[in-house]
């Protein structure tokens, strides 16, 4: 129930997948909106929430990668070798960006001369990364953060399209196995059948 098998995902992987998906879509929307607002007050507050949820995403992504490394992952379904490689590349890029986006956000905040503290969820003070502080450094990291965000938008779109193709065109369980956890009789015994 909790762990993955060769055929399906366990509850932990499923919860992490959808939680992170929700956070990333939310982060992309809030991020794009907050930098385009005229209301400075709202913009400031949204940026603080964006930072808090960004760090939460980073922590969850770390857990997800750890969980993936210690367990097994289900085999890809019903595709050609080329498609399998494409899927693996796509997933690997998603992982890279899920780590790189929060890190570049952290870097831009840390290199800002304004030195605005990050007080995640008004609970935890997140220290700044030891980076040079200058207007140039901040705008460089902000640029990278923005470009990577747009790359992630593209990757997420491809990812969603591929999942829908598997479900509606190919008629396989790629999408449904990320919705329902795999059942095994007892977690610790080898799988039946």
């Amino acid at each position: 129930m909790l762990r993955n098998t060769d055929e399906g995902y366990g509850l932990v992987a499923i919860i992490l997948h959808w939680l992170i998906a929700l956070l990333i879509v939310g982060q992309l929307i809030v991020g794009l909106v907050m930098v385009r607002l005229d209301d400075q007050r709202l913009a400031f507050e949204l940026i603080q929430w964006h930072k808090s949820f960004g760090f939460l995403t980073l922590v969850l992504v770390g857990m997800r990668i750890g969980w993936r490394l210690v367990g097994r992952s289900p085999h890809p379904l019903g595709t050609t070798r080329i498609e399998r490689i494409a899927a693996q590349l796509g997933h690997a890029s998603l992982y890279v960006l899920m780590v790189a986006l929060p890190l570049t956000g952290w870097a831009l905040v840390s290199s800002s001369e304004l030195a605005i503290p990050t007080f995640a969820f008004y609970l935890v003070i997140v220290p700044h990364l030891p980076l040079e502080r200058s207007v140039a450094a901040e705008s460089w990291w902000a640029e990278v953060h923005e470009i990577l965000a747009w790359v992630l938008v593209g990757l997420v779109a491809i990812h969603v399209a591929a999942a829908l193709r598997h479900h509606f065109r190919l008629g396989d369980a790629t999408l449904t196995r990320m919705l329902r956890p795999v059942h095994h009789r007892l977690d610790r015994t080898p799988r039946q059948s």
């Binding site: 400075q40 007050r41 400031f44 603080q48 304004l114 503290p117 008004y122 003070i125």
Partner: protein
């Protein structure tokens, strides 16, 4: 400077005790604050240490020291928050915007004293009404007379103001609700 303080000390101590009007005549009078020889600076702390230091460049004010009783003296100050300066133009813009001072709709911050309470020989607490962003609230500043001569008085004013009641709570609790004011005024006798 020392002898002046001594004179002032004597004036302030003796005047009410003796009820002698003439002893305060040195300081009594009307004064105008000299913008270029005065500073209004403030500090807002932030979590994890440090904070924002700023100044207001443009302000004006009038002081009337009552010859018969210090308690009846009056102070009035007007600050133009448009001239806020922190050394970071983005912070200045943020402070001027609707997030904080909203200078477009509230171009002046005023303080009008309502009472003066002496706390020492050269010190007093000045209570008054502070108006910012359409909110008027009672506030108290502590004042110390630091120098006095025939044509001018110098004093230092300190006070902690909570900004949230003025509709300026943005950024709390990352940035403290308390704004720590430290002002140095030189005022010339009219």
């Amino acid at each position: 400077m020392t002898w002046r303080l001594a004179v002032l000390f004597l004036c302030l101590v003796l005047a009410p005790a003796a009820g002698a009007v003439s002893n305060l005549s040195d300081a009594a009078g009307r004064y105008s604050i000299l913008n270029d020889r005065s500073t209004i600076s403030f500090f807002v702390g932030q979590v994890g240490g440090g904070g924002i230091n700023g100044r207001f460049a443009d302000f004006s004010g009038a002081i009337r020291i009552d010859p018969s009783a210090v308690e009846r003296s009056q102070v009035e100050i007007a600050i133009r928050p448009q001239t806020v300066f922190t050394g970071q133009s983005r912070v200045d813009e943020f402070l001027r915007s609707n997030a904080v001072f909203d200078v477009a709709n509230a171009p002046v911050i005023t303080f009008r004293s309502t009472s003066v309470r002496r706390t020492g020989d050269t010190t007093a607490n000045v209570e008054g009404r502070l108006t910012a962003r359409g909110h008027t609230l009672p506030e108290t500043f502590s004042v110390e007379l630091t120098d006095l001569d025939r044509s001018a008085i110098h004093f230092r004013v300190r006070g902690d103001i909570r900004r949230a009641p003025y509709g300026m709570d943005v950024g709390t609790p990352i940035y403290s609700n308390i704004v720590r004011f430290d002002m140095d005024f030189t005022a010339r006798r009219n």
